[in-house]
C-alpha cells in the first residue's frame, strides 16, 4: 500500500482526475471482485459475454466527471463497499435493460423463452459480493503482512509462513514445530505474535477504506469477518 495515499477515496478521486497509476491500482484491486459479481449475476445468461464490457462501464462510471463518485461524501461513516456495490449493480441493471430492449426489438418469435428474463436474486448476489469483498480484503491483509515481513527480516517472514502452514495447509502448531525442529512453546508464542501482526495488517488495510478512529476500523473488521 502506498503510504503517501491515505484512503481509497483519495485514490479513486485521483484516478478520476486521470492519474494512470491510480486507475491501474483501482482496476487491480477491484476488477476481480466486480468480474466475479457480474459473472455470478449473469451465469447461464447470454449477458455472460458482456462481463468485460460491463466491467469497463463500472470503471467509467466511477471515474467520469459527475459520475457515481460525485454523489457520495467520503467519510468514515460511508462504506466504500456499498458505494462500489451500488455502482456495479446499477451498471448490471442497465446492461440487463439494454439486453431486454434488444430482445424486444429483434422479437425472434421463438417459443423458447430467454433465461435472461429471470429476475436476479439481489439478496443472494449482494451476500456473495460482500463475501468476496471480505475475502479480498483479508487476502490483501495477508499480502500486506507478507510484504512487511519481507522488509523486517527472517523472523517475521517465518511468522508469516507459520500462519500460512497453519491455515493454508491446516497443520497443527505441534506438527509445524516438529517439521521446523523448534520448541513448540516458542512456536506457540510466535503464533500469538503472528496473529497480532495479521490483526495489525488487517486494521491498516481497513484504515485505507475507513479513515477514522482505530475503534471504527475494529468495528469494521468485525463486520467484515461476519460477512464471510
Amino acid at each position: 500500500m502506498d503510504p503517501s495515499r491515505s484512503t481509497c477515496w483519495t485514490m479513486i478521486r485521483s484516478a478520476s482526475d486521470g492519474a494512470a497509476a491510480d486507475r491501474d491500482e483501482f482496476a487491480r484491486r477491484y476488477a476481480p471482485l466486480i468480474r466475479a459479481y457480474l459473472a455470478n449475476r449473469w451465469k447461464n445468461s447470454s449477458l455472460s459475454a458482456e462481463v468485460e464490457d460491463a466491467l469497463q462501464e463500472v470503471f467509467v462510471e466511477c471515474f467520469r466527471n459527475q459520475g457515481a463518485l460525485e454523489g457520495v461524501a467520503p467519510s468514515a461513516s460511508h462504506s466504500f463497499r456499498s458505494y462500489l456495490y451500488g455502482v456495479v449493480r446499477n451498471v448490471a441493471r442497465r446492461a440487463e435493460q439494454r439486453a431486454a430492449k434488444q430482445r424486444e426489438r429483434t422479437g425472434s418469435g421463438s417459443t423458447t423463452p430467454h433465461l435472461d428474463a429471470l429476475p436476479a436474486d439481489e439478496e443472494t448476489l449482494s451476500r456473495e459480493f460482500d463475501r468476496n469483498w471480505a475475502q479480498s480484503v483479508l487476502r490483501e491483509a495477508s499480502e500486506l503482512m507478507r510484504r512487511h515481513a519481507e522488509q523486517n527480516g527472517t523472523e517475521t517472514s517465518r511468522r508469516w509462513d507459520l500462519l500460512r502452514l497453519r491455515f493454508q495447509n491446516g497443520m497443527p502448531i505441534r506438527e509445524i514445530a516438529k517439521q521446523w525442529e523448534e520448541d513448540p512453546a516458542k512456536l506457540h508464542h510466535d503464533y500469538a505474535r503472528a496473529r497480532q501482526e495479521f490483526k495489525d495488517a488487517l486494521l491498516e488495510v481497513l484504515a485505507f477504506y475507513h479513515p477514522g478512529a482505530p475503534a471504527a476500523a475494529k468495528r469494521e473488521a468485525e463486520e467484515l469477518i461476519s460477512l464471510l
Binding site: A49, Q66, T111, P113, D121, T124, A141, R164, A201
Partner: protein, 998 residues
C-alpha cells in the same frame, strides 16, 4: 509492525478470527485452473469456428497425433478466471468422458490452452439438430415413425445416463444431433448433474463423482437452469433439491409432445412460457395431445411423462424407452401381421379355386359367408363397444376439464373484465367440445342430462359474473367522483347503482339488505361500496372531528348493516373510528397502534384509503412504507404507494416511479400501473421513458381513459401536438375532466391557435371546482389568453364568489398589471400579504413603478440605466406597454457584449428577451419576425448551450420552463414561426435528462 514488538498489543480479537485467517491464507491456486503441465494444446490444429455459446466456443480441430478431425470446445477467455465456470466446464467434459454410449457424443481429450483456458475435444458431428428436422416437417403426422425411432434412441441414451446416475437437465431437440448417417447423439451436458449416493435410480454403477463446488456455483439451490419449454415444474420453480431423474423424463415428455403435436409442452412468448413452466400449466398440452392424430398409447405415454407430480411419471428414461420400443415393435408386428393375413387369404382363395368341386361349392360358400358374417358381426360389435367406451372416457375427461374451468371462472374476482370474458369463452368452448362427443355418439344419450345441468350452471354463473363486473366497475369508480362532483350527485349515482343491483336502501329493511348482500358473490364489493356510499351520504370527511348528532344516527344504521355484511373485527373497528368524536385522531391511533403489524394486507389497504379520505395522505404513505417489507409481493401495495406518493405535497415523483416500476414488474398487464409510471417519469423529465410507459398502457387498454390521457400528455410534451389534440378530443364526453386536465386541454387548444375554445373550456370548468387552487390556475390561464379587461372582469366575479381569498387576488392583480395599472395591482398584492407569490409580484410591481423614471429618460433621450437589473425592468415595462420595438432595442443593447450576455444569463434575462422577441414576431409583423426570430433563437441557444454549467435543479427548472411556456411552445408547432434551426434546438432540450446521481 516491527520486529521489537514482543507481545500482542491488546486483547481485541474479532469473533471468527480463525475463519478470517483461513480466508486470508487460502491457496489462491485452488480457485483457478491448474497451470498446464503438459502441452496438450499443441496436439491440435484449430480451424474454423462452428458455434458459440455463453460458456464456450466450438471450433473444428485437427488431432495431429491420431490424424482425425475433432470438435474443440474452449471456455470463453472471460470465464477462465472464474472458478465456478471452470468447474462447470470441466464437469461437462468429465461427465461426457465417462458416459460411453453410441447415443452420447464421445469426449476424446481435455486440457488447457496456453493462457490457462480449459478445453476439451469431442467427436465432430456433421448434421443438423432434431429441432431443425422437426421444423422441416409439413405437419406432425409427417414421417412420424422416423421421429419416433429417433426419440427412442434419445430415450436409450438418457436411460444409459440415468443408469449412471447422471441427469442431463437441459434435454430439448436443439441438444439432439442427427448425423449424416442416421446416428443420434445427445449433446451439451453443461447443466448435467450427478446424483449423490443413496438417491434413487438403483443399480447405478460406480461412476466417479465430480465433486460439487463448495461455493455451490455448479448447482446452486434456488437457481434455475434449463429451457422452460421443456422444464419440469420442480426444475422451473428452482427446487433443485427435488430435481431427479424424473425431471429428464418430463423433458422427454415435452419432446414427445412436440413430435406428436408440433409444439413442446409450453408454448407462447418467452415470458408466458416461463410463467406456464413455473405454474405447471399443462392443460394446453393435454388438449393438443388429446386431439392429435397419434395412437392412444403414445398420447398416454406423453401425458404420463408430463404429469405435474413426479411420482406419477415413469421412474426413469429406461421405462420411457421400453414403452416406445414396445410401441414401435407392436406397430411393426401389426404391419407384419396384416401382410401375413393378406397373403394367407390370397393362398386360401387360390386353393378354393383349384378344388372347384361343384358338390361342395354351395356348402362351402354358405359356410364361408356364415363365418365371415359371424366374424364381421362380432368384430363390429366389439369395435362398437370399444368406440363407445372410448367416447365415454373422452366425454368424462372433457366434462371434468370443463367443470374445473367453470369452477375456476366462478371463483374469479369481479375486477378484471378481460380475464372474466376470456375465462367464460374458454368454458363455453370446452362445453361445446364436450357436447361434440354426444353429438357424434347418440347412443350415449344418458349423459345428456349431466351436460344440460352443466350448461345451465354455466349460463347462470356467467351472467352473474359479468353483472358482478359491471357493478364492481361502477361502484369502484364512484368514490373517484368525490373530487369532481358535488356529494349529492355522487350519492345519487351510488343509489342508482345499488338499485340496479336490487338494493334499495330507502325502502328495504335492514335484514333484507343484509340477506341480499350476504348471499351474493359480490358480498365484499358491496361492503366496500356501501361504506363509501355511507360516507358520501353523511359526508364524514367534512366532519373529521366527529359527526353532528342527527347524522350520527343515520350513519350508525349503515355501520350496523356493514357489521353483518363484513364482520371482520379490524374493519369494524376502523369503520367505528370514522364515527367517533375526533375521528381523524381515532384513525391515526389505529394506524400507529401496536397491533398494526398483525393486520392483514386487505385491512392495511382499507385503513390507508380511509386515512387518505380524511386528509391524512402523509399518514397513508407512512403506513404503507412501514408495512412494505411485509407486503412487497402484493402488486396493489406497490401500486397504491406509488399513487399516493404522486398526491403528496410536493409529489415524490422519483420514489413513486420506483413503486410503480415494482408494480408493473409484478403485473405487466396492468395498464393503470404503466399510466402511473408514465406520469412519474414525465414529471421527472424523462419524456421518452414516459412515452414508452404510456404506449404500453395504451397497447394493453386502448380504450382506457387514463391511458389515452397519458398518451396525450406525452405527445404534447414531445411536441406532437396534432396527435395529442386528437386524443384529448377522444377523451371529451367520457367523464367530467379533472381540473388539471381541463387546464391542460385548454392550454393545448390555445397553443394550437383555438383561443376561443380554450377560453370557453376554462370558463365552463370554473364553477365545477370546490378547491381554490385549480380556480386560481384557471384564472391565470384565462389572463394569459386576454384581453386583460375581460380577464379582469372574470377574476373580479370569481374572487367575489369565493370571498376574495389571497390566491385569487394574484391572477386578478396580474390582469391589472397587464393593463399598466401598477398602483392598483400593487394595492391588490398588498391585500394578500401572506401569500408568497404576492410578495414576489408586489416587489416586481414596485420595481416597475421605480423603473418608470427610467422609461421617461429612455423615451426622451434613448438613455439606458446603468445596472443590468434596471435595464431588464425597463425592457419588461416597455413590453407591458406593448412597445415591443423599444423593449427589444433595450434587450439587444443589454446583451451586446459577451460580458453583458453572461450577466444577463445569470439573471435569467435571456429567456425574457427571447420571449419578448417571439411575442413581437407573433404579433404578425413580417419584418419583425424576420429580424427577431433568429435573435430569439440565439438567446435561447445561449441558455441551452450552458445547461451543463447549471446544477441539476437549475437546469431542470430551465428546461421545464422552456417546455411549458406557451410562447416558446409556439415555435414547436410550425406555421409562421417554423424554422429548421428551432427543431435542432428543441431536440437538444427534449433530450435533456437531469442526472439522477446529483
Amino acid at each position: 509492525m516491527t520486529e521489537d514488538r514482543n507481545l500482542p498489543q491488546d486483547d481485541w480479537e474479532p469473533t471468527g478470527f480463525d475463519d478470517a485467517l483461513r480466508a486470508a491464507f487460502a491457496d489462491p491456486r485452488a480457485a483457478t485452473p491448474p497451470d498446464p503441465s503438459r502441452n496438450e494444446r499443441d496436439r491440435y490444429q484449430i480451424g474454423e469456428e462452428l458455434g458459440r455459446g455463453g460458456v464456450g466456443v466450438v471450433r473444428q480441430g485437427e488431432d495431429l497425433t491420431l490424424e482425425r478431425t475433432v470438435a474443440v470446445k474452449t471456455l470463453h477467455r472471460l470465464h477462465a478466471r472464474n472458478p465456478a465456470m471452470v468447474q462447470r466446464f470441466l464437469r461437462e467434459a468429465r461427465i461426457g468422458g465417462r458416459l460411453q454410449h453410441p447415443g452420447i457424443v464421445p469426449i476424446y481429450d481435455m486440457g488447457f490452452e496456453d493462457g490457462g483456458e480449459p478445453f476439451f475435444t469431442m467427436r465432430l458431428l456433421e448434421g443438423q439438430s432434431l429441432a431443425e428436422h422437426l421444423k422441416g416437417r409439413r405437419d406432425p403426422e409427417h414421417d412420424l415413425s422416423r421421429f419416433l425411432k429417433i426419440f427412442e434412441q434419445v430415450c436409450q441414451a438418457i436411460a444409459y445416463a440415468h443408469s449412471r446416475q447422471v441427469l442431463h437437465r437441459d434435454l430439448k431437440p436443439e441438444n439432439v444431433m442427427l448425423g449424416q448417417f442416421g446416428e443420434v447423439q445427445v449433446v451439451d451436458w453443461g447443466f448435467a448433474k450427478i446424483l449423490t449416493e443413496g438417491s434413487e435410480a438403483p443399480g447405478a454403477e460406480g461412476l466417479p463423482e465430480v465433486p460439487e463446488d463448495a461455493s455451490g456455483a455448479v448447482s446452486q439451490p434456488g437457481s434455475v437452469m434449463g429451457t422452460p419449454a421443456y422444464m419440469s415444474p420442480e426444475q422451473a420453480q428452482g427446487k433443485l433439491d427435488e430435481v431427479d431423474l424424473r425431471a429428464d423424463v418430463f423433458a422427454l415428455g415435452s419432446m414427445l409432445c412436440e413430435i406428436l403435436t408440433g409444439s413442446p409442452v409450453y408454448r407462447g412468448d418467452s415470458r408466458s412460457t416461463l410463467i406456464a413452466a413455473t405454474n405447471a400449466r399443462l392443460e394446453d398440452a393435454w388438449e393438443r395431445l388429446e386431439h392429435c392424430a397419434a395412437d392412444a398409447a403414445l398420447v398416454s405415454l406423453a401425458q404420463r411423462c408430463l404429469a405435474k407430480d413426479p411420482e406419477e411419471r415413469p421412474a426413469d428414461a429406461s421405462r420411457v424407452a421400453a414403452e416406445v420400443e414396445q410401441y414401435l415393435t407392436s406397430m411393426a408386428e401389426r404391419t407384419h401381421q396384416a401382410e401375413l393375413s393378406a397373403a394367407e387369404a390370397r393362398g386360401k382363395a387360390s386353393e378354393e379355386v383349384r378344388r372347384r368341386r361343384v358338390t361342395f361349392w354351395l356348402a362351402a360358400c354358405i359356410v364361408l359367408i356364415t363365418a365371415v358374417a359371424g366374424t364381421w358381426w362380432m368384430r363390429n360389435q366389439r369395435q362398437r363397444d370399444e368406440r363407445l367406451a372410448d367416447a365415454r372416457t373422452r366425454f368424462e375427461l372433457r366434462y371434468q376439464l370443463t367443470t374445473e374451468r367453470l369452477s375456476a371462472a366462478e371463483e374469479l374476482p369481479p375486477n378484471n373484465r378481460e380475464a372474466l370474458e376470456l375465462s367464460w369463452n374458454e368454458v363455453e368452448s370446452r362445453l361445446e367440445h364436450t357436447a361434440e362427443v354426444l353429438t357424434a355418439h347418440p347412443e350415449l344419450d344418458t349423459l345428456e342430462s349431466r351436460l344440460a345441468e352443466l350448461r345451465t350452471r354455466m349460463t347462470n354463473a356467467k351472467s352473474e359474473s359479468l353483472e358482478g363486473n359491471r357493478l364492481y366497475t361502477q361502484l369502484e369508480e364512484l368514490p373517484a367522483l368525490w373530487v369532481i362532483l358535488p356529494m349529492e350527485e355522487v350519492a345519487e349515482k351510488f343509489r342508482e347503482t345499488f338499485l340496479s343491483a336490487g338494493l334499495d336502501f330507502d325502502t328495504m329493511s335492514e335484514q333484507a339488505l343484509i340477506e341480499r348482500m350476504v348471499n351474493s358473490r359480490l358480498r365484499m364489493v358491496f361492503a366496500d361500496a356501501m361504506f363509501a356510499y355511507a360516507r358520501t351520504e353523511v359526508e364524514t370527511m367534512r366532519h373529521p372531528n366527529g359527526l353532528p348528532e342527527e347524522e350520527r344516527t343515520r350513519y350508525q344504521k349503515w355501520l350496523r348493516i356493514l357489521a353483518s355484511v363484513d364482520p371482520d373485527p379490524v374493519r369494524v373497528r376502523i369503520r367505528a373510528a370514522t364515527m367517533k368524536n375526533g375521528s381523524r385522531q381515532a384513525l391515526l391511533e389505529i394506524a400507529q397502534g401496536p397491533g398494526i403489524d398483525e393486520f392483514e394486507f386487505r385491512n392495511i389497504l382499507y385503513l390507508g384509503f380511509i386515512l387518505a379520505d380524511f386528509g391524512e395522505l402523509e399518514e397513508s404513505v407512512h403506513l404503507f412504507r412501514s408495512q412494505y417489507h411485509r407486503f412487497s409481493d402484493q402488486v396493489e401495495c406497490s401500486f397504491q404507494l406509488g399513487e399516493w406518493l404522486t398526491r403528496t405535497s410536493p409529489p415524490q415523483w422519483e420514489e413513486a416511479a420506483r413503486y410503480y416500476t415494482a408494480a408493473v414488474s409484478a403485473n405487466p398487464q396492468d395498464p393503470a400501473g404503466w399510466c402511473g409510471l408514465s406520469r412519474c417519469l414525465r414529471e421527472s423529465g424523462e419524456w421518452l421513458g414516459a412515452m414508452n410507459a404510456a404506449t404500453k398502457a395504451r397497447e394493453l387498454a386502448p380504450e382506457l381513459w387514463k391511458s389515452r390521457l397519458e398518451n396525450a400528455r406525452c405527445l404534447d410534451r414531445l411536441g406532437d401536438l396534432a396527435d395529442a389534440e386528437k386524443l384529448y378530443q377522444s377523451l371529451e364526453g367520457d367523464t367530467p375532466f379533472p381540473w388539471e386536465v381541463t387546464a391542460e386541454w385548454a392550454d393545448l387548444q390555445g397553443r394550437l391557435g383555438d383561443v376561443v375554445s380554450a377560453k370557453e373550456g376554462l370558463k365552463e370548468a370554473l364553477p365545477r371546482f370546490r378547491d381554490v387552487t385549480p380556480v386560481a390556475r384557471i384564472l391565470e390561464e384565462l389572463r394569459q389568453y386576454g384581453p386583460p379587461e375581460e380577464a379582469e372582469a372574470i377574476c373580479e366575479r370569481v374572487a367575489t364568489q369565493w370571498k376574495q381569498p389571497a390566491e385569487l387576488r394574484i391572477p386578478w392583480a396580474r390582469t391589472l398589471l397587464d393593463q399598466g395599472r401598477y398602483e392598483e395591482a400593487l394595492r391588490m398584492f398588498r391585500r394578500a400579504p401572506d401569500h408568497p407569490p404576492s410578495v414576489e409580484w408586489a416587489l416586481h410591481c414596485r420595481n416597475l413603478l421605480l423603473a418608470e423614471s427610467h422609461l421617461t429618460k429612455f423615451r426622451e433621450s434613448g438613455e439606458l440605466p446603468t445596472r443590468l437589473e434596471e435595464q431588464t425592468l425597463l425592457a419588461q415595462l416597455l413590453e407591458y406597454e406593448n412597445d415591443w420595438q423599444s423593449a427589444l432595442q433595450v434587450w439587444d443593447r443589454c446583451t451586446r457584449s459577451p460580458m453583458a450576455l453572461r450577466a444577463a444569463r445569470r439573471e435569467g434575462a435571456l429567456l425574457d428577451a427571447a420571449r419578448t422577441a417571439l411575442r413581437f414576431a407573433q404579433a404578425g409583423d413580417r419584418s419583425a419576425a424576420e429580424k427577431w426570430l433568429p435573435r430569439a433563437r440565439q438567446w435561447v441557444q445561449w441558455e441551452v448551450d450552458h445547461l451543463a454549467e447549471l446544477n441539476t435543479l437549475q437546469a431542470s427548472a430551465l428546461v421545464r420552463g422552456l417546455l411549458r411556456d406557451p410562447t416558446f411552445r409556439a415555435t414547436r408547432s410550425g406555421g409562421l414561426l417554423a424554422n429548421g434551426e428551432w427543431e435542432d434546438l428543441w431536440e437538444r432540450v427534449l433530450k435533456f435528462t437531469p442526472s439522477r446521481e446529483n
